[in-house]
Amino acid sequence: MSVHIAPIACRELVELITDYLEGALSAEQHARFENHIAGCDGCTAYLEQMRETIRLTGRLREQQISPDAWVELLHAFRGWAST
């Protein structure tokens, strides 16, 4: 049994990416989204870029804090730990 699924344009799909990744699409929208992605290299690459963007943004956290701030925090921590 086949169900007719209204097609979706690439231009619309890019606006649904976050809802897709957040699991916020309705069942019907979800089906349209996956149906489109399955046959579209451009949107597949776009979705991958979004996933990479999220992954790389998550790496910012490893950024070093300044040495001065570290020293201040260590002092504070030692002071607290010794009370």
Binding site: G42, M50, I54, T57, G58, L60, A69, L73
Partner: protein, 173 residues
Amino acid sequence: MYVGSRAVAEDVAAETWLGVLRGIDGFQGRSSLRTWIFRILTNTAKTRAQRERRSIPFASLGDGDDGPAVDPDRFLPPGDPAAGAWASPPRGWDDLPEAALLSAETRSVIDAAIDQLPPTQREVIRLRDVEGFSSGEVRALLELSETNQRVLLHRARSKVRAALERYLSEDTA
């Protein structure tokens, strides 16, 4: 965020840790530790911002006119038989070495893109994608509806992606 410069932000981070250390004995465990620490952080930052007379009420911050996630010129125009399909599709980044993706320069591109976002978008992407808070935590902390949180996250991520794409394509060209 609530404060304008990196130096002030570092001060706020240090004050937050002091607040955490002073208050840990009184922590009741009624919220998650992360949420509790984050409340101390936002309170510290708001207090600091008031002191600097740069306080902006969070809820009143509009995000202005926000364009689409992708430049409309990259799609075939209305009237074309395939209107709305990619005219200039993105390229995957899987052929780029991991070292290039994780380089300090790539990081600074992401950092700069986040810094240029409107304040509410910036705060949502920092909490969700940099700090790793859940959507529920972010909604509670910033008092946003589910939809608003998602819209702000979408705009923020789309702009960071666009900045990365610009940078990574000039890098490999």
